[in-house]
């Protein structure tokens, strides 16, 4: 499968970039061939709706999954329509670590939350 990861640098050792649309780089890793493509994000300075353009790069590359920290609401909708599964990496993971975690099934799927869920989580934390 092909995995799309947002990255702060252009190698597998780089830290995952938590932002989707305005990430510095993106890396596409093919688990079957081991091929790695890394590119600077051409949209990161875009004015508006950057997440959509960036998501289209992932779609055109034919990836099956995307890893990032934060998928904005527009990007989320686009990737979901394209059937690309979204996973959430931690701030302190490298691209390589995030990919391995995904392949081991240890990476959390990105699911939207509601304000109520956040509120309940907050209440628990502050008890």
């Amino acid at each position: 499968m092909k995995i799309f990861i947002t990255s702060k640098g252009n190698s597998m050792d780089s830290m995952v970039d938590p932002r989707f649309g305005r990430a510095e780089y993106y890396i596409i890793y093919d688990t079957d061939t081991g091929e790695i493509i890394s590119r600077e994000n051409p949209h990161k300075q875009g004015r508006m709706a950057v997440g959509i353009s960036f998501a289209q790069i992932a779609i055109e590359a034919g990836v099956n999954a995307a890893i990032s920290g934060n998928f904005g609401p527009n990007a989320f909708e686009v990737l979901r329509a394209a059937g690309i599964k979204m996973y959430r990496a931690r701030d302190d993971q490298t691209v390589e670590e995030a990919v391995n975690a995904l392949l081991k099934g240890e990476l959390e799927e990105f699911k939207e939350a509601t304000p109520r869920e956040i509120a309940e989580k907050l209440e628990k934390e502050l008890k």
């Binding site: 709706a49 959509i52 779609i59 394209a82």
Partner: protein, 279 residues
Amino acid sequence: MKITVASGKGGTGKTTFSVLFARAIAPALYVDADVEEPNGGIFLKPTIEKVEDFTEPVPKIIPEKCTYCGECARACPYKALVIIPPPAKKDLFFPELCHSCGVCAYVCPEKGALIEVPRKKGVVRIGRAGNLDFMEGILNIGEPTAVPLITDLKKRVKNYKGDVIIDAPPGTSCPVVQAVEDADYVILVAEPTPFGVHDLSLVVEMVEELKVPYGIVINKAQEGNTLVEEFANSRGIEILFRLPFSEDIARMYSRGELPFERFEEGLRKLHARIKEIAG
């Protein structure tokens, strides 16, 4: 004569003044162009005679004719269209990003694959409050830009025979420019606080660029407070009127009322003065 009332940020009393002024000089037409949050009607309490939809064309993809080539999505300057190519063959439209510019329809290479359909983006309400004609535009929540609706309001009042008071949106962004642009005179409402004077300076910058004659009205004016006067003097701008700070007025305002009679005479004199300057 078309007089637009503008201000810096929200909350300075622009609507308070517009409404008092419109009532004082009636017969006239009051237009609430603060389409994202029109509230002039709360105080004027008009009888609404007509409600018309405000629509703009948006793209609609006809799946049977569409080849999912993606031209429309590539050309869309606002990224409002997403095309997922075959085999998935999906199209996504983000209405809150669409500016109804027509690029998608223009570039689509397949005849009939992308058509434009009207999408309701707001309403225009028309009525009367005594001898004051009333019009307001209300933009639907989530619409990306207020400008087209304000342009529509302006078109509607173009041939009105009589004075028009346009209650502009707050601030200095595009919608305000649209509302102020071809006015005969602009009244700037300001509060005598450091923030108020600062915001006033920004609006003055905007109005100067548009080259429309203007003057200042001080809202919530207080004895001994000369913040706005100092600014006005330094720029040679006329102070047209002062609405005093009064808890009484604030309380009436929060109930949806205003002391119309109290300022009637003064405002009529102001109207005469403006006609002198720019009529």
